[in-house]
């Protein structure tokens, strides 16, 4: 009997040594004359266990991890091909607590299938949403997306259906679908996983969007720091075209849709939708003033749907299972699920897809298992480099756009970065300003110059404690100007991490709580 062994090809697994492990398994199997069938699946998103090797025995997958090259021989000795006992044995994959209690709608296939296999994609419910969309009127597709309550997953949380409807109702000789895959937020990797581990899902979402709004051309703008995602998406587009999921008369219908993959060039601001459009047009990624909205005058001045990867990746499920099935998950105005990403100093980092409303504490403690260093948590940054720092005693907050906004925080792209008690929050605040200075596109003065002044002020607070009270007052003033005087989130939200650090940890800024209130 031929054994099937799964070894992920996701870049987080590769970075942990998955390729070397795969080669060693092949080598030792050959030496022993054992016939094995190697499958390179996506990652299950349990990164502390990568490289996670799975074996299929009687149709059930068993997991071993994290496997190092040195341990492979030992695994063979323990008869891992028949799910033998070993210290790395994690049990039946589907039964691992971390996975079992998730609500994987978008990530349903990820880690199970081979990313570029059209056969796998079809077998696990692929293209069902597209076939449904082909049978519907465009307005009905848009209504379905509206009814699902799906909101933009890039951070702003704008209802996707309203964007789509605006583009659908616009008249133009050409409309575009643009995917924002410039996932630059530290602590986030869900877009990367979708593109590397289930690329056809994104392609399917884009075709559905094209049919709904009357667009025949789509672009995926992928950051240059994601070479594997660029390669996988490029290959997936080629294979999808060969199989007539792209091109003319898609699946015998009258619809045409083409996709072009574009590599970004390392500018954080290009994650802002109008800067991204400028970059696609071949210019510097400078933010545009709105209006005009991209939905009316977007790429090359034409009506454009611009959605984040996760937003578009949720669309095939919405069409296949119906708006209600999706909207049944979530809380308040945040419907559906969000793939949360646990990162930084965390014992069990990885991807956890849950309905909106799960608390930060549940994610970090139940799923994440606390800090990696086993020290107490000091602060958690939610929502990327422009997100607020939340102190350890305030983590019982629901992960929902509105609940976080009420606390002066943001959900962003769902990244959760944990810091232990050794972190210096003034240093983190200074870094937020440094990052803004490095990445500011330069259009708005408060962002361009304010960020550099911010670095200087915080450095002064650190080096001259006697001036801390006066300088923190100055810092608050500066943050106020940046918040209110910048066009986009770069300058407008850099104050979030800075002020939250200052508010919750005044002692790191050389001031006492009393001085804090007096200032």
């Amino acid at each position: 009997m031929k054994h099937t062994v799964f070894i992920p090809c996701d870049s987080a697994a590769l970075a942990a040594g998955a390729e070397e492990v795969a080669q060693e398994i092949i080598r030792l199997a050959e030496e022993a004359g054992i016939a094995i069938n190697i499958k390179r699946n996506g990652s299950r998103g349990m990164f502390w266990l990568e490289p996670l090797v799975e074996v299929e025995v009687d149709g059930i997958r068993h997991a071993y991890g994290p496997v190092s090259v040195e341990q492979v021989a030992d695994l063979f000795a323990a008869d891992f091909l028949n799910a033998g006992t070993h210290e790395l044995y994690q049990g039946v994959t589907e039964d691992i607590e971390y996975l079992k209690n998730q609500e994987r709608l978008t990530f349903a296939r990820i880690g199970i299938t081979e990313p570029l296999s059209l056969q796998d994609y079809e077998k696990y419910d692929g293209w069902v949403g597209l076939k449904k969309a082909i049978s519907l009127k465009p307005a009905d597709i848009v209504q379905e997306v509206l009814d699902s309550g799906l909101r933009g997953r890039g951070g702003a949380g704008f209802p996707a259906g309203i964007k789509w409807r605006t583009v659908m109702q616009a008249t133009a000789d050409q409309k575009y679908i643009v995917i924002n895959a410039d996932e630059g937020d530290s602590g986030t990797f869900a877009d990367r996983m979708v593109m590397e581990d289930d690329p056809y899902m994104l392609i399917e979402g884009m075709i559905i969007a094209g049919i709904a709004v009357g667009a025949t051309k789509g672009y995926v703008y992928i950051r240059s720091e994601y070479p594997h995602a660029v390669d996988t998406m490029t290959e997936a587009v080629r294979l999808a075209r060969e199989a007539n999921y792209l091109g003319q008369n898609i699946l015998g219908s009258s619809f045409t849709f083409e996709i072009e993959i574009r590599k970004a060039a390392g500018s954080y601001v290009c994650g802002e939708e109008t800067a991204l459009l400028e970059s696609l047009e071949g210019k510097r990624g400078i933010v545009r003033a709105k209006p005009p909205l991209p939905a009316l005058e977007g790429l090359f001045g034409r009506p454009t749907v611009i959605n984040n990867v996760l937003t578009m990746a949720a669309v095939p499920y919405v069409l296949a299972q119906g708006a209600k099935a999706y909207a049944d998950f979530g809380m308040g105005r945040s419907r559906g699920t969000l793939p949360f990403q646990l990162a930084g100093n965390i014992a069990r980092g990885g991807l956890v897809e849950k309905a909106f409303g799960v608390t930060a504490r549940e994610l970090i403690e139940v799923y994440g298992g606390g800090t990696f260093t086993k020290r107490p948590i000091k602060a958690v940054q939610i929502g990327g480099p422009l997100g607020a720092y939340i102190p350890a005693d305030k983590l019982d907050i629901a992960m929902d756009y509105e609940a976080l906004a009420q606390k002066g925080a943001v959900l962003g792209h769902g990244g959760v970065v944990v810091f232990d008690d050794t972190v210096d929050m003034a240093e983190q605040a200074k870094y937020a300003m440094e990052f803004c200075a490095l990445e500011s596109c330069g259009k708005c003065t408060p962002c361009r110059i304010g960020s550099t002044r911010g670095v200087e002020v915080i450095a002064k607070i650190q080096s001259q404690p006697q001036q801390a009270v006066a300088q923190t007052a100055l810092l608050r003033d500066l943050c106020d100007t940046m918040l209110n005087g910048s066009l986009c989130a770069m300058g407008g939200m850099t104050p979030y991490p800075v002020l939250s650090a200052l508010d919750h940890f005044p002692e790191d800024f050389n001031i006492t709580k009393t001085e804090q209130h007096a200032a």
Binding site: S11, A12, L14, A15, A16, F47, W48, E50, E183, G184, D185, S186, G187, T188, F189, R192, S224, E225, Y226, P227, R262, K263, A264, A265, G266, S267, Y268, S279, L280, E281, G282, K283, R284, G285, F300, Q341, L342, A343, G344, N345, I346, G349, G350, F372, Q381, P385, G415, V417, V418, F419, D420, V423, Q428, Y431, F435, L438, E439
Partner: protein
């Protein structure tokens, strides 16, 4: 014109020919040039200007705006180390200091800062000659650097 410059010119022209009918072609052209030569040579803006009907200033502006585009030839080896928050939480600051000191004065190596490689659950993350590496420590770094030298 020496042979190196001649080679560069032909690569630039080739890239321009290949993408000239693509809307918004400048970034794909620059990527093609850098992927082929390793950097964006000096004469790029003046060569591309008449073909793309853009001013040299516009092209120069794009080349210098994006962190990804390099204007000088790359060192034999490049080590990029992530500086973003998730890797900070796992100690990238001290590791950066260490590796910068370790490779200081070695002209074969260029150490650069990067901001998120999407490996945020397994930091500190680094990239050596295009290879991604997770869970970096000083011991592992020394081994990876040694391996990279041997593979060169």
């Amino acid at each position: 014109m020496d042979t190196v410059e001649f080679h560069h010119e032909s690569v630039i022209r080739q890239a321009a020919q290949r993408y000239r009918d693509v809307p918004g072609a400048l970034l794909p052209i620059l990527h093609h040039i850098q992927d082929t030569i390793g950097f964006i040579p000096n004469q790029t803006a003046s060569e591309l200007s008449p073909i793309l009907n853009l001013s040299r200033a516009e092209i120069h502006g794009v080349i210098t705006y994006y962190h990804h585009f390099k204007q000088t030839p790359p060192a034999k080896h490049t080590l990029a180390i992530c500086q973003a928050e998730a890797c900070q939480a796992r100690g990238c600051r001290s590791l950066t200091k260490e590796v910068t000191e370790m490779l200081a004065g070695d002209h074969d190596w260029h150490v650069e800062h990067t901001y998120c490689l999407g490996l945020c659950a397994t930091g500190p993350a680094i990239e050596i000659d295009g290879q991604l590496k997770a869970h970096a420590t000083s011991e592992k770094l020394q081994k990876w650097i040694k391996d990279a030298k041997e593979n060169a």
